[in-house]
Structures are given as structure tokens and as C-alpha cells.
Symmetry: D2
Subunit: 495 residues, 4 copies
């Protein structure tokens, strides 16, 4: 609980053991079920890949709200039969999250809760608002007291301040002031509410279990509780779910071309999920096949960088007939808090998670396939492991295009100076990574793997700004043209 100047560019949050961007959140909601919080626990466990830093659940039992918020995994914090006492009720929402650096404090863990004039309201969201800081400044100037640095509290304060009477009107009033990407779930003493941003950047799915409606970030959270997929929430849609299970849909925003985030297919979503109708595993395999067509390789063996590169590597192998082998073994026992001891082992950070399987690498020409390359730091270390295990040649293929632009919608892909493809040519990267050849899937190739004919620059179907720099929304607080204003904003202390 300190003053601190929030950096104008959010810090790049990278797993110290793996060079992957971090999605910030997964959400879950259920109305009208026996032991709603137990369903939330299982559903959030199924969304754990979307955020492992913290998790929380809010439940309502017809009389009172209960909330629990913890740092760590769902399975470490919510288990056992006493859950019925800790979080009673037939309605619940839940959240898993990554947190950006310096903001891991428990007070930022969602769902957030407030007693409003209209009664209690719990709220959780996945995404990021590009005008959160400006809104926050205005609210503070008008006498609002913030207890967290979370964007979610901005929504909450806007709802509390709205001059509309009905809660749902206050809710939409708040949404209309927000710019950016979000999949949002909220729980009142009467309703479960879900909302997806106008461009549908973040995913949100409607499901059903024994007549109880569910809202989840990904379909795999339905499968784990044996629930049925009903439909995707539309971009810009707000759904209001009543206790009896009836659902009302509102579309408060002007119609725009939907542009869901394509990185869900590249990395974030679990392979067994269906995102906006497409199976993630099949899309990833197809990326591998397309990659094989665009950048074939004359090698003896295809080796995936586990786990995220496996489907594309399989696709590459099936397209080319070159054997797929587990040439890198991943150690899944690395705790979140592991800090390198003093011993100065070369490439230790990569060795904690990855080991070369010499028997399939020695004397072979090896093609490594990964889903993407961000900073290139992990790729370089893995390549070295493979070469030291005796590979005669090492080639590398990225199943997604070159990442050259930052993200402002909830993915920590921020400082373009740290993105290797933004600052290096292919030749430079080949040298930097010490490989015989390097290939990135083309943007059109990525669209083709999605079943599209290619990218229409006038009407792109996905949020693909990481690759193209083409952002769906205004960037407000992050806009360079508004740098001076940002500077002033950054002087506003945030507790």
C-alpha cells in the first residue's frame, strides 16, 4: 500500500523459465446450481493455464455474499468438502489471473466486491482497458477512493457513481465509458451478468449444466464439469442471467466488425478448447502444416519445443512425413517461486524446465518447432541444448508470424525493444540464435490455418496487432501522441 509511479509502458512479464507472453485472466460464472462454488473451483482449475498467480471466488446464497481470494493455484487454495461452508450458495463467479509486476498484492486479486446502494456486487474480468488511467484520475478527482490498482475497480467505481437507477443500466453506463478488451462476469443478489467487449477481443462462452447457465472463458472449463456448450457470447453482447435460468441479451454498443484475439489460437487457449467455433488443436496443427508448405526443411527429425510447440510440430511432421520425436523433455515440477541457487551452471534457467533427449538428437539434422518467438531468449538456450546433445544441424520454425508490436488488451507483450523479431532481420536472428535456418509463418498463412482465405487489410477478422501493428481500438493512455498527458497521469500516485 504505497505510492508508486506506474510505468507508462507496462513491464513485460515473462516466465523466467520460458519466454512466453502471459495472458492475464480466466473467468467463470454460474447461476442456479447446487454448490455453485464447487463448480467454480473445477471450472477455474480447467482455466488454470490462463493465470497461475492468483485465484478468487465470490458466491451468493440468497442472503449474503462470501468471497475468498488467494495467491497461488486453484488446487492449492480451494479444495475439500468445507467449501460448502466457506462459499455457500447457488450462484458464483470466479477468476484466475496473472499479475503484472509489483501488483501481486492480494488486494488486486479478483473478484472485487462492493456494497452499492442497490446491494452487493461482485465482479471479475479478463482483459485490459486502454483508458483506465484517465477514468481513474477523474473518479479520484470526484472523491472516489480506490483500494486496488486493478482496472476492474474502475468499472466498479463507475457503476457506483452512475446516476441511473437500475443496476443493469448503471452497469451498461459504466461499460460505455470503457475502451479496450474485456470478458467480464458480475454477480448481484439477483443476477449473473456477462459482457464481452465490442470487438470480442477476449473470449466468453455460454454453457449449461442441468439447466444452470454458465459463463466461461474457454470451452475446456465446461468439459471438466461435464457441462454443455451453448454458444459464444457475441462481441459487444451483455447477457443478464436470472435465478430461474432465463437469459436476456442486450447489445448496447454500435455494431463494429468483430476482431477476436488471434493469439488465443497461437498460444493462450488450451488445445482441446473451441474458441469462437474453431478447435484450437486443429488450428495449431494446421499452422504446422502451412508452415511446412511455406518453410520446408531438409532434416532427419521434427522436435517440438514442449508443450506449446507440440501440435504445430505434429502438423509439420504429418505434412512432410519427417519423423516427430520428443527430443526435448519438459520438467513439470518447477514451482513458481524457484530462485536459482548460487551454482553457476550455464543455461540453468532453461535446464530447470527443459532437458535434451540425446538419443534422438545425436548425429541428426533437427528441426525445432515452437508456437512463437517473443524475445528469443529461451529459444537460444534450447537451441544450444540441442546442439550440445549432438545435433549436426539445428533449424527453427515459428508457427506464428513475427511478433513486432506491443499489446494493450491484457497480454504482456509490451516493450517492442525486447521483441527479437521487431529489431532483427531473419539473417540476424539466425546468427543470434546460432541456427542453420529460421522461418516464421506468414500472416496470410496464419489466416489460412484459421480457415480464412488470407488477411483482408481493409477488414481484418482478428486482432493481430502483435504481427501487423493494426490495433482495433483507440489506445488512449498508451497512445504515444498522448505521451504528455500520460506523463501527467503517471504523476498521479496510485496506492
Amino acid at each position: 500500500m504505497t505510492f508508486s509511479h506506474k510505468a507508462s509502458w507496462p513491464e513485460l512479464l515473462i516466465d523466467p523459465f520460458e519466454d512466453k507472453p502471459k495472458e492475464e485472466c480466466g473467468v467463470f460464472g454460474v447461476m442456479g446450481a447446487t454448490d455453485a462454488s464447487s463448480l467454480a473451483v473445477l471450472g477455474l482449475h480447467g482455466l488454470q493455464h490462463r493465470g497461475q498467480e492468483a485465484c478468487g471466488i465470490a458466491a451468493y446464497d440468497g442472503k449474503k455474499f462470501s468471497t475468498e481470494r488467494h495467491l497461488g493455484l486453484v488446487s492449492e487454495n480451494f479444495s475439500g468438502k468445507n467449501l460448502r461452508d466457506r462459499l455457500p450458495g447457488s450462484a458464483a463467479i470466479g477468476h484466475v489471473r496473472y499479475s503484472t509486476q509489483g501488483e501481486t498484492a492480494l488486494r488486486n486479486v479478483q473478484p472485487l466486491y462492493a456494497d452499492l446502494k442497490s446491494g452487493g456486487l461482485a465482479i471479475a474480468h479478463n482483459g485490459n482497458f486502454t483508458n483506465a488511467r484517465s477514468l481513474r484520475q477523474q473518479l479520484v478527482e470526484n472523491g472516489s477512493i480506490f483500494q486496488s490498482t486493478s482496472d476492474t475497480e474502475v468499472v466498479l467505481q463507475l457503476i457506483a457513481r452512475s446516476r441511473r437507477t437500475k443496476l443493469i443500466d448503471r452497469f451498461i453506463d459504466a461499460l460505455k465509458q470503457i475502451e479496450g478488451a474485456y470478458a467480464l462476469v458480475a454477480l448481484t443478489n439477483k443476477k449473473l451478468i456477462g459482457a464481452r467487449d465490442p470487438y470480442g477481443i477476449r473470449p466468453l462462452v455460454l454453457g449449461e449444466l442441468n439447466g444452470s447457465p454458465l459463463l466461461v472463458s474457454e470451452t475446456c472449463a465446461l468439459d471438466i464439469i461435464d457441462a454443455t456448450f451453448v454458444r459464444n457470447i457475441d462481441p459487444g453482447e451483455v447477457v443478464i442471467i436470472n435465478k430461474d435460468g432465463t437469459i436476456k441479451s442486450i447489445r448496447p454498443f454500435a455494431n463494429v466488425q468483430a476482431r477476436p484475439c488471434i493469439f488465443e489460437f497461437v498460444y493462450f487457449a488450451r488445445p482441446d478448447s473451441y474458441v469462437d467455433g474453431r478447435n484450437v488443436y486443429q488450428v495449431r496443427k494446421e499452422m504446422g502444416r502451412q508452415l511446412a508448405r511455406e518453410f520446408p526443411a531438409d532434416v532427419d527429425v521434427i522436435v517440438p519445443v514442449p508443450d506449446s510447440g507440440v501440435p504445430a510440430a505434429l502438423g509439420f511432421s504429418q505434412e512432410t512425413g519427417i519423423p516427430f520425436e520428443l527430443g526435448i523433455i519438459r520438467n513439470h515440477y518447477v514451482g513458481r517461486t524457484f530462485i536459482q541457487p548460487t551454482q553457476d551452471v550455464r543455461d540453468l534457467s532453461v535446464r530447470m524446465k527443459h532437458a535434451a533427449n540425446r538419443s534422438v538428437l545425436e548425429g541428426k539434422r533437427v528441426l525445432l518447432v515452437d508456437d512463437s518467438i517473443v524475445r528469443g531468449t529461451t529459444s537460444r538456450k534450447i537451441i544450444r541444448l540441442v546442439r550440445e546433445a549432438g545435433a549436426t544441424e539445428v533449424h527453427f520454425r515459428s508457427a506464428s508470424p513475427k511478433i513486432c508490436h506491443p499489446d494493450f488488451y491484457g497480454i504482456n507483450l509490451s516493450d517492442p525493444k525486447k521483441l527479437i523479431a521487431a529489431t532483427h532481420t531473419i539473417k540476424e536472428m539466425e546468427k543470434e540464435l546460432a541456427i542453420e535456418s529460421l522461418g516464421f509463418l506468414s500472416v496470410d498463412g496464419l489466416y489460412k490455418a484459421m480457415g480464412e482465405p488470407g488477411r483482408d487489410p481493409d477488414n481484418p477478422k482478428f486482432s493481430d496487432h502483435y504481427f501487423t501493428g493494426d490495433y482495433p481500438t483507440r489506445l488512449y493512455d498508451y497512445d504515444h501522441a498522448e505521451a504528455d498527458k500520460n506523463l501527467q497521469l503517471s504523476l498521479l500516485s496510485v496506492a
Copy 2:
């Protein structure tokens, strides 16, 4: 973090091992000192008798605020040399508290902190507002979100909402809306502020150490850091202390007759403290002397109920010449969390803290002296211990008058049905407690012990409503005449 209906009458909070009312808080503030938080730790340790449930410190180092809030004792939570890193700066405020039932959560522990338009503000107080609930309801209706159930947050929200420009004006604007008792310290990035309610019900003292001004609840918090007493903050006075140590005094309230709480002298304050100019130990001894004059006893030995009855018993002994002996030994090793194990020992709860010293009781006529009798439960058990140790007669004297009325200014003396003197005659109490004789100091006697000629009913000099039912302020939320309104208020859920 749940809905809950706050009881219209606050619950009586009694130490399970001792039948004593609980003061809620002690406050500390310092400006312009090296290692301000270390001074706060020591000062709060010296105020620990005013609250052992929780403690907190907020410090400001010229750039940022740091706060730490903990359940438990000061000496358990704030120690060691790393304090300089945890709570850096030359200005700090601190707080120790008891918490009323159901509200022990960490989010209610003070100091509270908020980022306001004007910058950061930390605030802590001792006391209770009688219109806190009404104010809270209004604030929520206007869109304020409360994160605690603490009265202190009401002040904070009022300050945030004030339409005045300068922080000190906003501060006074807030105070003017509050009714009740308080000693309040606040810290901004420029100033340390202290305020005492118009009647001066709760104490607040100005001290000084090497040129650094200090604000403390009791003078014993000055002694522990070898600081100098400067003066008492006047009832209704607001002091604004600048970084250079200069002090500005404001008196924003209409003048009223001061009425400090007389229970500070009876029980709360530490014997070595001077409260509003009077030494507590001498007043207590004088209560014992006056009691001896009003209710002498023909006994062999005077035995105090330790520790609070010791000074009065000494006074009684010195007045009468009857020997003073430690007939009851107190065990100081009882942790706060001790729960009686299954063994069914009679009067276990009293035996955990008190033991009869048979050698001075056996065959003797014994006079027990305590500072007060609240519910009478502990008195009854101690009397039984004494009799079982062989006393031939047991007499009892209370060094304060009969407690018959609840308190609403921060002392948990609430439900009059549980106050033994409110519901029993002297004869009935003698029977109930199984004693040969019982005597309570008279109200006039209490005033005499304070050096007054007696109580002037038209112009009482102290808040003595426990004994007289004469409250200094309006009771608002607690007023029976406003019961219907209270009922409605109680329906407003508080998170």
C-alpha cells in the same frame, strides 16, 4: 467480506478471562524524526494496554507512503532492524486496537490509507461516532464504495467527497459532520494532523522529542521513548504539524463544556500516565482512600484484584492501616487464543489467570478491592477462590460507582441487561456474589478523588454516563427514539 446485519446494540466485548470493558484504541503520530516508524513501534508498545487485537503503522518518506497492518501485538509484528526498509520515512502514525466481534478482519485494522485528489492520506482514530451509520448510508447512496466496516473510513470518505479545495479544509469539513468521541491522527505528504472531539471525551497529548512533535493517546507513550510532555490537545482542537515542526492550532467547533471520559481514570489509562493533568495512579489510590471513608470494612487483610485493583487497594490500606497483601496471584502467560480444553475444571476460566495465595487468606477476614464491577462474573469466581482458600469472611469494594448505563464512545459497555449493578440491588448483589458486604464508591466520591468538590449535575466535568446515564452528545444511530430509523439502517448491508 460478507453481507451482515450489524446489531443495533454493539455486542459487549469482554475478555473471556476477565470481566473488564475494552477500550478500542490508542493512537500515535510523529513528524520530522529519524526513523519515525521505530518511534511509532515503541510508542504503540507503550499504548498496548489500550488494544491488543491489532496494530498498524503508516509512514511517509517524502516520496511514498508505506503501511503495515497486523493482527496481534506490536512486539510480535514490528521488531528488528529491517523496520527502516519496511516503513521508511521521518513521519509516521500508528494505531493499536480492540475490535468488536465479527470485525476482526485485517481490512478494518488502522491506519487506513487512501489516494485522494490532493495526494495520499493515512488516518487512525480512537473513539466512536454516534452517527457513523447514517453518514455511511448517505455516502453509499452517492456512490462511495466502502472497503471496511470501520468508522474511520467514514471520515476518509467524507474528506474525499468534500467540495473544499485545501486538504485541511476538507478535513474540518468532514469532522463537522461527525458526532461522537474521537482522538484522531492523520498523515499527508506535508502534514501531521491531530484532532480531539469537542467534548474531549477521548484523550490526546502533544509531546516532543529532539524537536520532533508527537501526538499520543497517553503520556506513558512519551516516557517509553524518553520524550517530553508539551501539553494536552484541547477538546475540539485541531493541530496541524508541519515538516519543520511548527504547529498551527484551529478550533473549528462552537465552544462547549469539556467532559473527558472518567473511565480513563477508573480503568483504561496506565497508572503512570497523566490524563488531562492528573496522575492516574494517584487518582486511583485516592479512590481507594475515599472508598475506605465511605465503606470501611472490619477485616484482617486488604487484597487487590490484580492488576487493576492494586492502586485502590493500596489507598484503602494506607487510609485504614489494614495490611495490604497479594492474596491473588495473576498468571501473565495467557495467550489471546487460548480455548478451554475438555477437562471440566470448576471456574477454569478464572483459574487460568488468577490463583489464590492461601498463606495470606486462610483463617482471615478478607477485603477484596477492584476498580469496578461490570457483569460480576469474574468477581464471583475470584470470591469463590478466596473463600475456598480458607477466608472466614469475604468483603468486596468497587473503587468506582455502580455501572448502569451503556457507552457509545468507543468502550464496549453496551447491553444494560448484562450490567449487574443495573439490574440488582446491593443486597441482591451481596447474595449473588456470596459476600459479607459490598460497597461502591459514590459518584461524588469519584469526583472528590479527581480533586473536585463533587459532581455538579448542571455542569458535570466528566463523561460519567456509565454511572449517571448523562450523555454528552446526541446518540443518533443508537437513540431509542430513532429506533425505527435504526431498524432501516440495519437493513443496509455492510460488507
Copy 3:
């Protein structure tokens, strides 16, 4: 620390989420290295798959021994730069373990340490002694006091009691009294000692890093610290490593045919390890190929049960040309302590770890390949998941033979009544598991996958009693013929 009657048959310890037998331990030792304990941390992390319940390290800095023993993962307990202060020195041994039920107490975690006449001795082992209980009884009768229920303490007490003078003679004196399987590391103030049982049932490897000798259970623990493989410790060999790195080898036992445990290849060892000269990944793939030859299947897709079934499934796919697909997705975020909440979801326990990937299963004839079948409980649930995801046929192949006999050498494969293959015919299992066909690799096929011509019943090259009932050693405490004696033994209370 209670009396308890140790069951005559050790309890089957099965991961509640996965039907796999549990190896009990991995060991690590190093002599003469800078920051030996940091190397131990990394090496043990590389052996974490051999035991996740507890871990410990003992280090010696030339003056004193330091030990730390913890429940949980290596990466949770041993990290950070302060390790040099916690466990200083240039020599260290370490241990990871599973613990059998009821014995998870910290006092059983290794390495164990004792001050002997000759100085300090730390010791850790992987394996199980079949006469541990008899030896323990004798020692207690002669006045030894046991502080743990660990077999390792039996060795320690035997060493302490030996009448030989030199420590190494005492050590060998103790080993000669022990029957069973072990890979043992010990550390004195002068030497690092390693020992492998006469049959070489448990593996032990000698490595080297910058001139410092290392002892590890598996070669993957060398790779993680970039160390070099030197050779396998021979069955029955004792190596004594001096501070200067010189190594002396002793062979105190009569020569017997080595019979390393074949289950290391089936399940325990990590795929990238080389065990007694064979690469585990290649052996497993070869098991899949051999399985395809013995039990082909007319299916559309080969799906491994992750992670242990992957290499065999790849081998099966490569042998048959049928596509290999990730039809089951594994969730790696399940904490050790997760307890099923109240919600009654069918097959929850399997769903916590496994999800069906519908897109590759729907409408397909599916062959599931796993490394083995123990109780069949998890197999049944996974089969149901696959069928519910739309598979038209489900076939199952086990890459190892039918497990019909218990183990007494450190693997929790105990009660034959719970082993599905011991009590069911193939037809019965097909019905029980609800599959179209089932096949187990033959014992000869398993030997072929190991590069052998087949199993020679008169001279089997491996400990394969799980499949054959042919035990390499006498079983002593576990021998049914000695049941009466066992009964008496079980009456000896063990603290």
C-alpha cells in the same frame, strides 16, 4: 510419534489422480565441488519424478554437517542464494522420496544423520530391505533407540553397532546384514560413499563435473548440471570417494547374476535417461513397436495416455503408419493436496488431470496406448472420457506385460488382489474397461524391446517379478512361509 502396527503387506500407494505405482526415491551425492548443495538442489530437481513427497540435503563444510529436510518439492524448499549459508560445504548428499502411507512425517525424510564414535554420518537410500523389520527388532532388543520408521535408520544403527574399527568396515559390515534392493549414498567428514545392492535392482550412476565425482540415480540428474556420465556403479559395488576426487571400489559380496529392475524402463526413469546403458525413450518406443507387432489394431488414430504412454504410442504409430494425435490433454496444475469439493461430477478425479480432445476423437476408431495397467481404475475413466467425446471404437494396449505380482524392493505395487491383471482374464478386462480390444506386451516382447533375444527363465537378466513372480532375493519379512514370525514382528511397536 505413536505406537502403530505396521501392516504385514505395505499399503498400495497410488496417486489419487493416476493409477501408477510409485517409486520411492532418488539419490544424489557430490564430493569436492564449490557450493555442493546448489548442485544437489539442481540434481534432485532433475530426479523429482522419482519422488515428490519430500526432499532433503546434508552438506559438510570441513567443520560441521548441516542438514535440511522438507515435505514437498525441491523447487519449493531449496532455492535462492542463501543456500550457501544454509547448507555450506564442498560435499553433499541429497534425496527425494515418496513415502508410504502413515509415514509422511518429517522424521522419516532423508538424509538421516547421526554422530557416531567415528564422527558424523549422513545417509540416504533408494530401495527397500526385505529383512528390515527383523533387524530392527534385534537392534531394539539390544538397546538401540529408533527415531524413525525408515529402513535407512536400520543401516545407520547397524553401522553404529558394528564392532569393526574403520568406518568403511563398519559400513560394509552393515550392508552384509541387509537383504533387498538399494542404491545408497553416505557422507562422512572424509568420504562420499555409494553402494548398489548385489543384484543391482536399483540404479546408481557415477558422473563427474569439473573433476568433482557425482553419484546419481539417473543420468538426467547429470545433464541438468551439465556434468559428464562416467559409468554405472556395478551391482554389489561399493565406491569410496575421497576429498581429492580419487575413487576406490570394493566388491564385498559374492558374485551373482545382475538383475536390474525392468520397471525403470517401463515407467520410473525419465525418458532422456540412460539406465545401465540403455536409453529409456528408445526402449519405450521399441516397446510400442513390438506391441504393434504383437497386438495390431485396425483404428483411425493412436492416442497416448499422457505423459507416460507417449513414447510407446509414438513407436506404435511409427510401426503402423496410423496417425499419432494428442487426444487426451493433461492438466499439470494439480497440487498434491487437492481434495475433491462437494460437487458430484462423474469421473471428477480423472477430469482433474485429463481432458478429452474431441476434435481428434469424434467419429474415430481410437487406440489408447499406456505404459502399463495397474489397478485399471484410471484406464476405465479415461476410456469413458474418450467414448463420450465421440469415439466409435476404443481399443487399449499396454506397453508392458500383465502386472500380477507384488514388489518388495521399493515400489508400491503390493496387494495382488488390487492388480486387475492378476484377477481378470483379457475378456473380463475388456468387459470391465468397456473396450473393443485389449493387448499387453509379452514378457519376451519386453525383453526384445530391451535388445535381448527374449527372457531366459533359467537366467533372467532383469528383475521382472511384477510380471513373472520370480523374485531375485529372499523375501524374509514378507515371506508367507514366515507369516507367523511376521505376526510376531508386527506386534513390536514402532514409534
Copy 4:
């Protein structure tokens, strides 16, 4: 769990806030009671003043032993109704302890437990063996493995090694090898055993509650559970208590003149206890009276150093008629772990626990009375507090004689160089402490306060070596004449 060289002279363990020697232990035992462990909890709470570092209980329920051992207070570790499940049974022993520096580890906390040939044995003791180190060395040489550095384990190992058949014979066999001071309780699956050393240096009392025999260090542990005092265990007596409550007494040692520790009366025992028939409070008051006769003072007020100086100060006041006043207030909220923060307040350590009550000191000639002076460090600080509060003269009286000699029987009064009276004359001390006059009770005066005519040098009735240097037993390991041997002993590493 490290090698460490135990200092030849045990370190002086002094409360950092108070200059008092520390008793090491209190013991409790009960046989045949409902919820024996609940009685143990209450009894140990009543003995808490004898040791606050750690506590433990062992219980036996007819089938198994359960033990719990914790660092910290009884009331922090043993509370609540689940005790019946944690420590079931009708027989229990318990222990509270101080631990000498470097040995606070949990493995040293008593009761210790072992599975012997004869069954389980739990044991706890108060005291110290002067030949513990020699015995330990012999046992280790014969193959015993020690798991603690506690003297108690020496007894346990001796019992385990005894060649006698019956447990009680083995027990006595062990006691006969031990030299020093002890009050010992032990629990087997059949009997509760108590033993007191031949000189009766440490106290042990037999009590009874509803027919269940009890063994306790002090009578105040009987009072807290409303039990009856039966008799003191005789010096050199061993009592064997059966399940049916029958008691057998054995006196295995040659008769010697009893010499109970006189420091129990000076400081250790609680004032309400009766030690070997004398009431501690009355003895202490009599010390004060005798002191007044030997060293009167011309002062205005008698002020005790709380809490230990209170009875003697009362006696001095009653003898002289000079008023007794609470001139020093003690703060009881100091946790064990408090570490001084950075703020450099003069005499902070004393201010954490003691505050001057200016109103009774200012302008007065003050006599401070304490029970004893050890190093003089706290006395000096308190004297300064008193003088700074305005006393015109400060005189000091110690209610016990000059402490000039170390103790080896369980009291941390060790290094004579640190004992102020051993190295200073009265004049030097008066100067060092900055007082007008100083007086120590004479040794004969102390005996008189005990009701004796004085000390008979040929036949002293108490262990008074602190004052006289006359030790009742041989000192073995601590004997300077045996220094060389000790040196060798100290080279024997102790884990």
C-alpha cells in the same frame, strides 16, 4: 542438526529485558484421569513461569502413545476441544522448558519418547546432570545414536542399554549412573514414574485429583486444577504409580543430607506455591523484613522492582512502616521475539518492560527492593529511570545474598566473570549502579527467613552454592580439575 562444540561453560542465558537467571523446566504427570492431557495442559500453564521457550505432552490411551512438542507457550500450543483427539488417554506427562542458547531446536523439546524392548517410554525432567557429557561419550562409543543434545536422552539411552530385565530396574540402573540435580517424570504403558535426585535439589510434589495421582514441580500446578496436595517426593525417592492409583515408593540411593535449591524461594517458584512445606510468598516477605533489620534505609518510599521484588518490598515496608508504592510499572505485553528497532533510545531494553511512575518518585528518597542482583545490568537501568523521574536519593536492597558462584543444576547462572557481586565490592557496586546505598541480605539472614537459626557450615540445609560456592555434588564435566578431560569431551561432536 550440525556439529557444534558445546562450550565448556554453559552460556549465561538472560532475558534480554530482565537480568534474571532462568530455570530450565517444570514437569507434570498424571495417571488414571479422564482426559489426562487436558489436565496436563492446565497444570503446565500453571508452571509456565518455570519455562516459556517450549512445551510438550505425551499421553497414553491404553494402546498407543501420542506426543506433541512445540516451541512457545502452553496456551498458544495446547488449547481447544480437539485435544482429546490429539493426545488421547488417561495417563500423561508434560514439560515446560527454557533452552540454553543454540539448542532451541524442537528435537530437544521434551518429553522424549522411545520404543524400547519393553515397550514405549516417555520421559521428561527438570534439572541438569553434571556427568551427562561423559555418559554420552561412552554411549556413543558403544553404538548409541543420539537424536538430541538433551540430557534427558542420556537417561533414555541408559535405560535402553541396561542389562536388567524389568523396566523399573532398568530405570534405577540408569539413575544410579547419573550425577546432578533432577526431578523426573516418566510414562510407560503401565506406570507413571517420578524420581527426585538424592539431594532433592529440584522440587517434586505428589498430588491427587478425584483419586488420580499427580506429580508436579510446584503446588500451584495442583491449585489450577483444584487438586489436593498429598506430600513432597523425598530427596532420592522413586515413586511408581500404577493404573489403579496405587503408589509404590523406592529409595535406591544411599542416604545423604537433603539440600533443596534455595533459589526456588528467592526467585523461581511462584509466590503461592509451597516448596518442601514452606510458602514462598511468606518466605519472600520475611526476606524483606530480615533485610530491613540488616540494612535499614532512611527513605520516603519503598518501591519494588516488579514483579519479583514485590513480596520482599512489602515485607520491608511492613517491618519499617515506610510506605510501599508502585513506583515502577511493568509492561506485560513484550513478546519473546521482540528485537529492538533501529531507533536509538537510551535504555530502551529496560523501557520495553519497565516505566517509572513519576508521581511517587519525584522529590522522594526512594528505596528499590529486588529479589536478587545477577549481572546488575537491569538494576542499573532501572535506577537511572527512577532518578530521571525525579528521585532525590536512590537506595537499593537485594533480598538475597551476593551471587558469586555459577550453578550446574539447571539454572543459567554460569560465568562468574559476569556476576557483578563476584567481581565488585559493595562500594564499587554503589558507584557502578550510581546509588546512595546498597545492601544484600546475609546468608544467615536468608536461612532465618526460611525459619532456620542460620546456616550450619558443616551441615547446610539447602543448595546455596550461588552464594557460598559449596556444591552438594561432584561436578564432573564442569570440574576445573578435569579441564583437560573436558577439552577432549568438547571435541566430541554433538549433533
